[in-house]
């Protein structure tokens, strides 16, 4: 009886680990999509209303849902009055945020920070659009990765659990 309970627990645990890896891939895809929504809102605020960055980032955060933490943190750093540049604030918020994205995705976001807010409207819009397009291709890659690796991770979880049970039996 104890062996059966142990076997079931091992299979559940390994299956969960597999699902966790698959979920991480799925979350990355969602997060990248949310960040793009945020950047679209930022483009709108900068281009249409010439809204200053703290308020524009707050609007972007609203549009980006859970992915908006990076925008909210940057906006907070800008309004706290320490005289940080937008680049410093954005870099700090990327480093401190718990986003489900890869190191490469973080680098794409970090590239947005260089010169953020420091040039005219057209230049800012080009810069934000470029980063949004790079995130879009990262999202496409994340989708493909999930399509191919998502199922694999889930199956590996079950399989490893079953193999371990067989080995112990």
């Amino acid at each position: 009886m104890l062996k059966i309970i142990g076997a079931v627990l091992i299979i559940i645990a390994s299956a969960s680990i597999g699902r966790l890896f698959a979920a991480k891939l799925h979350q990355r895809q969602i997060c990248l999509s949310q960040l793009q929504q945020g950047l679209l809102a930022l483009e709108r605020e900068v281009g249409f209303a010439a809204t200053p960055l703290p308020q524009a980032l707050a609007q972007a955060a609203l549009a980006a849902n859970h992915g908006g933490v990076v925008f909210t943190a940057a906006a907070d750093l800008l309004v706290n009055g320490e005289g940080l540049s937008a680049a410093e604030a954005f870099e700090q918020s990327i480093a401190e945020s718990q986003l489900a994205i890869s190191k490469e995705d973080r680098q794409i976001l970090a590239d947005l920070s260089a010169g953020l807010g420091l040039s005219d409207c057209d230049d800012q819009l080009k810069k934000i659009e470029l980063i949004r397009l790079r995130l879009q291709s990262a999202e496409t890659e994340a989708k493909e990765q999930y399509a191919s690796w998502g199922k694999i991770w889930k199956n590996i979880g079950w399989s490893v659990g079953a193999v371990l049970v067989l080995m112990f039996i």
Binding site: A50, G83, S85, G117, L118, S119, C121, D123
Partner: protein
């Protein structure tokens, strides 16, 4: 909110500490804070100027003064612009940024030209923070002179060099006319191109302008005067620092549309004003029935003289608003 609380957040943290050490009295009489790169930070008062000491407080000794470094200037510009230069393209083109409370940060540096016009300013080396204050009832002594014998408001132009109290008076005239506490209230329309008269923030005026005031914020004067005239049925139109031909044309249009206009302009006296082509046209069209010349001779708001539309003196000067 006090002026210090409004201004300090826009200064670099190191300088903020030094200026926070100034006494409330010093803040009360302060008119300008001047920041020049690699030079002492100074404060201008009614009739004197002092450096900000590196240990806090004020000093007249150059050696004890706090010298503004590159990092502080950079921080100050980031704070003034909220790190959003793209949102201030028009302000940078004109050389100043208006802050909440109606305060103004004048900027000097290297002008970048495009098609012969100033596109922006870069390598900023000087920032002049001009502190705005609402002086309640500042126009009360002047106001009776702005009405004719039938008790009708006359279109009025306030004339003075910078720092003589034009905007303060204009703001209080608007408040008195729209508030109607001393006189029959009038519907006032304000074109606040530089956000100095009303200091609008999020659609709410930061300064008291009476209850019958429509404020068009950040709009070019010529366009704004026509917009207000057509849409808000004002009895009085108010705008600050007119100077272009378009402004003059719009003022003449408004003056001939049954609306009274109260405006201000830079000049030392009526002769200087009349020598400028734009104002010569305005005077010729009798767009203004009263010209009030102001100076700082006995403090900001000193009335040097009040003239009629033919530039004939109506009242002697000496009055202080």
């Amino acid at each position: 909110m006090s002026v210090a609380l409004q201004i300090l957040p826009y200064l670099p943290p190191s300088l903020r500490l030094l200026l926070a050490s100034l006494t409330p009295v010093e803040w009360k009489i302060m008119e300008e804070i001047r920041l020049n790169l690699n030079l002492p930070v100074s404060c201008r008062f009614h009739d004197n100027e002092a450096f900000v000491a590196s240990g806090g407080g004020l000093t007249n000794e150059f050696g004890r003064a706090h010298i503004l470094n590159n990092k502080e200037m950079e921080q100050c510009l980031l704070l003034l612009s909220q790190s959003s230069f793209y949102a201030l393209e028009e302000e940078l083109r004109r050389g100043y940024i208006t802050l909440p409370g109606g305060h103004r940060a004048g900027l000097c540096g290297r002008a970048v030209l495009a098609a012969g016009q100033v596109r922006t300013i870069k390598e900023i080396s000087s920032v002049n923070l001009r502190l705005a204050r609402q002086v309640a009832d500042a126009s009360l002594t002047l106001l009776p002179s702005l009405f004719d014998q039938y008790n009708k408001l006359c279109s009025t132009l306030l004339i003075s060099p910078p720092r003589a109290g034009k905007t303060t008076l204009l703001r209080d005239i608007a408040r008195q006319l729209a508030g109607g506490r001393m006189i029959e209230p009038l519907r006032v329309g304000i074109v606040d191109e530089r956000s100095e008269i009303a200091a609008m923030r999020g659609g709410i005026s930061q300064l008291d302008l009476g209850i019958r005031c429509d404020i068009l914020d950040g709009c070019p004067k010529a366009e704004g005067l026509m917009m207000l005239l057509r849409s808000m049925s004002p009895q009085v139109l108010i705008c600050d620092e007119i100077g272009s031909e378009a402004d003059a044309a719009a003022l003449i249009e408004a003056a001939n549309a049954g609306v009274k206009v109260v405006a201000s302009a830079h000049a030392t006296d009526c002769d200087e004003l009349a020598a400028r082509p734009v104002f010569a046209a305005l005077l010729h069209a009798h767009a203004f029935e009263r010209l009030v010349v102001l100076s700082r001779r006995r403090g900001p708001g000193t009335v040097e003289g009040i003239y009629d539309q033919n530039l004939q003196p109506l009242e002697a000067g000496g009055l202080v608003c």
